[in-house]
Symmetry: C2
Subunit: 450 residues, 2 copies
């Protein structure tokens, strides 16, 4: 038979089973955490009409999008979860109740040049709160708490949430007479961390006609140790600026009430977030030991989610985690907790008699107690079956030989310690449950001890 060489496309993550279990465990924690904050799960199609996805149009998106015809329909794969959300909310606006809080954890597609750490198919894990005409600042204040709780639940502790407000930046530009170049200036200072203040100043002055004085004031402010204090002298000069400072104060002010420790948070006036549609608070989250990774959770406040689809004013705030990339970073850095069970089963049952009924009954008892059990009935030697359990890192093996069956018992072997006990089925179930509780007491991420 003519064969095709099996392969997986470059830029498409495909995990081996144990890694997949680790990935799924992270997804489960995200789902649970987002749910605890009152976000409802959505699942929009991965394929949409190209016209709908490209309503905003322009730039990188058009180049990267996977677009194709089927019959006479012009289709495309979603490139993020925000545009489908905008479509969903515009389409179903009369059936939804606002504020509408949704999370979606799903794959998106971008035909970028494949390179290390860049994926063409990758998971985003998004939450958004959408208001109907208005949305209180408290929603913006709650986001850092959600970020904090989410990463903490995943097992990460060495991270920092950076917050800024676009109104502060825009107001500042007005005060400094930089309104016309605002977009260019914002994109330039967004690169501050990457290229440093000298280069930023050079670009501002040479390319965008910013005066040296204005560039210096701006850079001094952005470098201030206490940004909130450094903003004080500019107050009273521009309404938008004042509003931004007030919003930023509110967000900072609620931090301790929401349970975000001070050392996990900072105001960083350099954060602009490239996207044009953010209008208020913006967020980034960085791993303290891996700043080179960039932000692992970003987002912000926007005034108009769905202006390309509806006249209805839909302000919102949202954040997104690039989960596939984050996972690949964690894997590469050795941050994945390999101590948790990754086997397909908790117990491998080895029947040793012709009659399988006692083994099947024990499997049923385990499953009814929530323990994952697999019968191994292949025609293999006993040693091979144990080696199977070993390769898969299955925590327990259970043997049912003639002696055990005659006594109504089962022999359970802890495959880590080698300890072996002959017990009644219900004792065996309890033993395994207790052992599994211990083995699952840990988060999916473990940070190296510094």
């Amino acid at each position: 038979m003519a064969q095709v060489k099996p392969r997986t496309l470059s830029g498409f993550m495909e995990l081996l089973p144990a890694r997949q279990v680790q990935f799924d465990r992270m997804v489960d924690i995200l789902r649970k955490n987002y749910s605890l904050y009152g976000f409802t799960p959505l699942d929009t199609p991965a394929v949409e009409a190209a016209e709908v996805l490209l309503a905003k149009g322009g730039g990188e998106t058009e180049k990267q999008i996977y677009r194709f015809q089927k019959g006479d329909t012009d289709l495309a794969l979603r490139f993020d979860l925000t545009v489908p959300l905008a479509k969903y909310v515009a389409l179903h606006q009369n059936e939804l109740t606002f504020p509408f809080r949704r999370f979606q954890i799903a794959k998106v597609y971008r035909g970028e040049r494949a390179q290390k750490g860049r994926y063409r198919e990758f998971y985003q894990a998004d939450i958004d709160v959408i208001g109907d005409g208005a949305l209180d600042i408290i929603n913006e204040a709650e986001i850092p708490a959600i970020i904090y709780k989410t990463f903490t639940a995943l097992g990460l502790s060495r991270f920092k949430i950076r917050v800024n407000n676009r109104k502060v930046l825009n107001g500042l530009f007005a005060i400094l007479g930089l309104e016309e170049q605002a977009g260019d200036v914002m994109r330039t200072i967004d690169k501050l961390e990457k290229i440093g203040p000298e280069k930023v100043k050079a670009i501002l002055v040479d390319d965008f006609s910013v005066s040296a004085g204005a560039a210096d004031s701006l850079l001094a402010l952005l470098a201030a140790d206490d940004p909130m204090a450094a903003l004080e002298p500019f107050k009273g000069k521009n309404e938008r600026f004042d509003q931004g400072v007030s919003e930023l104060s509110t967000v900072v002010g609620y931090l301790s009430a929401f349970g975000v420790p001070e050392d996990h948070f900072m105001v960083d006036l350099t954060i602009a977030r490239g996207l044009d549609y953010y209008t208020g608070t913006v967020y980034e989250t960085v791993m303290l030991d891996h700043p080179e990774v960039g932000s692992i959770c970003s987002g912000g406040r926007y005034d108009n989610l769905a202006e390309y689809y509806t006249d209805k004013q839909l302000p919102g705030v949202g954040i997104s985690i690039g989960l596939t990339r984050l996972f690949s970073v964690l894997e590469a850095q050795g941050y994945l907790n390999d101590g948790l069970v990754t086997a397909p089963a908790d117990v491998l049952i080895l029947p040793m008699t012709e009659d399988l009924s006692p083994a099947i009954s024990f499997a049923t008892a385990l499953r009814e107690a929530g323990v994952r059990a697999q019968l191994h009935c292949e025609k293999k030697k006993f040693k091979q079956k144990l080696s199977y359990a070993d390769k898969l890192a299955i925590p327990y093996a259970a043997f049912l030989g003639e002696d055990e069956i005659a006594q109504g018992k089962v022999t359970v072997k802890d495959l880590t310690s080698g300890e072996q006990n002959t017990l009644t089925p219900s004792e065996a179930v309890a033993l395994v449950q207790a052992g599994l509780a211990q083995r699952s007491a840990g988060a999916p991420i473990t940070e190296p001890q510094l």
Copy 2:
């Protein structure tokens, strides 16, 4: 601004929030059940090289597949989960441990003509056990138990699992001298239920040159009340037939040990399953009250999963649930249990003072106890906030006014019964937890009482 009319493509299911929660609850149960039987989760890409997906080639698949170019790469969306599994196992064969048991619940794509109940993007929920060269019959015997437990856990009771064996059919064709027409005969009898015995006989005789006598013997056998007994007279005439009957007996024989009640199972010699690659046991599952829906869970044994990619012999057995279609049937028939909580949150917290700290603390206490809590801090009237909870069917509201705060208490209102209690935060958490335990005691499917 130029606007695009928001729309979702025809044939692509997009659920409103409450329905999505019901769908996700079913997926959770499938995941949990498959896990209990020792299947490990996989997540292969939705996009593959077209050449890889179409390795087998031919017919409907080529017509229906979503295929497109990106750069100079010829890509396609997966149209099932079996072909990607074959690729995965062939590609990673040296890194996997056999028997390899995996489940995958994911979207697949078929560009069929959209019509009621047909989806172009739909979920399949598959399990497969893949052996390395050999695979014991006990794996085939366990499958009906998994089907039974899965649907029972979903809340369905009025269904029946039908089982046949392709070797029985093929052996029978040899005995009746129909070997040359075997494929055509098999496809024809697969239609028995749909078109009835007369038409099947006519097609067999007229189109495929089956003698009237052979057609009659075949149809009599297929209509037998006790199929296992009706097979007896044919034994000893054909090796394959005898093996098939022996396998079928083994599968039937293990049913009670595996806990499948007799009334949920039958041998049905008419089941062939169209796909060419089944070689042993085949399964279908029908809803007793909705036979028109066809099989809601089908599959079977195959001898060679990945022959298009590798010379390695990989026999297996698997089943698939067409989840999106099943969900739409359940919805249309009123089988979805609307008594379970579908709200985004369990408790809506209404702070009634300027200082939000006590409300935030209560939200934190709820979340730490696993209760989903949402703060409602929008500038809306009290009545509007209660109406928000009502529209979303949020079970509880919690009020924190000045009186409550002064006493260190919170007022919790059960929005179904209207009952209201002023309690300490920990009492309130306990009350809500107890109430939620009651409200979640039920399966996602409820059958009408007949």
